[in-house]
């Protein structure tokens, strides 16, 4: 579904992504892991088109996305949930959700989608008319994901969704990701909570200084003692 070929990206003068190549097949959950500064968030942002200086190929279902502005990529079926969630203050939960579909030509399906999303995210259903930023951190994260799901994306990019979220909601969130996968959404996940992420993923890549240094089956990586030592939580 997504194929990244020899991707290079720069922040000003800094060469942050160096010749990255990887792929995410349809219906998979793939995790990108690695220490801070390795380039994981940058990779997601480049795929979404938010970074100006980049070279290489980003093929989404065969189509090269490079050159296409981010909103066009969104309409092609690629959704992105950034690390800071970006819930719009002043708008209710419902209105934030509506934002996910407003710009699309499928906005006629709005009512239907809201119902569907409400079923998938019961916590949000209870709070539909509350102001978006009055939700707890974990609920805001759910809202950001739900909003991204409104346009029924074929693939969703998630940047550290469990960061700062309480254990109970982390658990719910990862179960949600498994359910999303069952329904056919492809997921590319960046996570520091490596065990959780690997437990629901098919494959994973380890990034370091903008390059891939290791890749493999999620289960294998989870059982690999060296990886455990280096990358897994205490």
């Amino acid at each position: 579904m997504l194929k990244v070929e020899q991707l290079n990206a720069w922040y000003d003068q800094s060469h942050v992504i160096q010749g990255l190549s990887f792929e995410v097949r349809r219906g998979e959950i793939v995790t990108l892991m690695g220490r801070n500064g390795a380039g994981k968030t940058t990779t997601l942002r480049t795929i979404m088109g938010l970074l100006n200086k980049c070279k290489g190929q980003v093929l989404f279902d065969g189509e090269d996305l490079l050159g296409l502005p981010p909103h066009v990529r969104y309409h092609r079926g690629l959704a992105y949930v950034p690390e800071d969630r970006r819930i719009v203050p002043g708008l209710s939960v419902l209105e934030n959700l509506q934002l996910g579909l407003l710009a699309s030509n499928r906005r006629g399906e709005m009512a239907e989608m809201i119902d569907e999303i409400a079923e998938t995210f019961p916590r949000l259903k209870e709070r539909l008319h509350q102001e978006g930023t009055s939700l707890s951190g974990g609920e805001q994260q759910m809202l950001a994901i739900a909003r991204a799901m409104m346009a029924r994306p074929r693939m969703i990019l998630l940047d550290e969704p469990s960061e700062g979220i309480m254990p109970l909601l982390v658990h719910e969130m990862f179960e949600l990701f498994s359910r999303m996968k069952e329904k056919g959404t492809t997921i590319l996940l960046v996570e520091q909570n490596v065990e959780r992420a690997l437990s629901i993923s098919d494959r994973a890549y380890i990034l370091d200084q903008g390059r891939i240094v290791h890749q493999g089956d999620a289960q294998e990586l989870l059982e690999n003692a060296e990886i455990q030592e280096k990358y897994c939580a205490v």
């Binding site: 801070n36 500064g37 960061e163 979220i165 309480m166 658990h171 280096k230 990358y231 897994c232």
Partner: protein
């Protein structure tokens, strides 16, 4: 060992408009303890942290530090009396070097309104800044701009700045937020060392960290104190599992 708790929160409430963020919370912290405040977001953890660190005054109730009422003191006086904090969202002086960040934090104790002597004359400050940087493992990047440091390094810099006023009470708001497992381990080691020298209160979500390090956990929920106990008690508590930990 003193019988007076180092920090005491008495019947503290805080409302924002209609919303009651904290409701009649009373807790006492003993000197030398390493305590973690846990609980769902929106439970009042941040508000509680802000009340004890000078970020926001309580709407009612008292805060006592070493027996002294500090409820009404100005935010900038907290560092002077011996309470330092590190922020949840990294808050360093981005255009200043790492060394200068720590030096400025240290300078507070020595001189604030000195207009004419050059900064460089205070050699002791520069040396202490270097020592603190070394302690948090940032000695080799002392000249780099704080804004250019990696996230984990910025968090460590925050800790160095908090230590600058030699606090008796160190408050840390999610010190490992956004850190990789490796960086988390380093920070944990540092926190453990620090807890031998001073009283530390943490707000955290990473359960493995908290259970492994602290012998006292305080769970807040809906602005109220839910449970106060050791890790085993917390883990076993049905209510805590229902609203925060999950059932596994």
């Amino acid at each position: 060992m003193s019988a007076v708790p180092i920090l005491e929160v008495r019947a503290v409430s805080r409302t924002f408009g209609n919303f009651r963020a904290l409701n009649n919370v009373s807790v006492a912290f003993r000197a030398g303890e390493l305590t973690a405040i846990i609980g769902p977001n929106g439970a009042g953890k941040s508000t509680f942290f802000n009340v004890i660190s000078g970020g926001v005054p309580p709407s009612s109730g008292q805060v006592l530090f070493e027996g002294r009422d500090i409820t009404q003191i100005a935010p900038h006086d907290f560092a002077r009396i011996g309470i330092a904090k590190s922020f949840q969202i990294t808050n360093v002086f981005k255009q200043l070097s790492a060394h200068e960040n720590v030096r400025v934090a240290l300078q507070m104790q020595v001189s604030r309104f000195q207009l004419l002597r050059p900064r460089g004359a205070y050699v002791a400050l520069m040396e202490r800044a270097d020592a603190l940087l070394e302690r948090v493992g940032l000695a080799d990047i002392r000249h780099k701009l704080a804004g250019d440091l990696a996230h984990g390094q910025q968090r460590s810099l925050e800790v160095a700045m908090a230590l600058a006023c030699d606090p008796k009470l160190l408050l840390m708001d999610e010190p490992t937020a956004g850190m990789s497992p490796e960086e988390t381990r380093v920070m944990m080691g540092l926190i453990q060392q620090l807890s031998q020298e001073r009283t530390v209160i943490l707000v955290e979500h990473k359960m493995k960290l908290v259970m492994g390090l602290c012998n006292r956990l305080i769970v807040l929920h809906h602005g109220e104190l839910l449970v106060d106990g050791n890790p085993d008690e917390i883990r076993g508590n049905a209510e805590v599992r229902r609203v925060y930990l999950g059932q596994n």
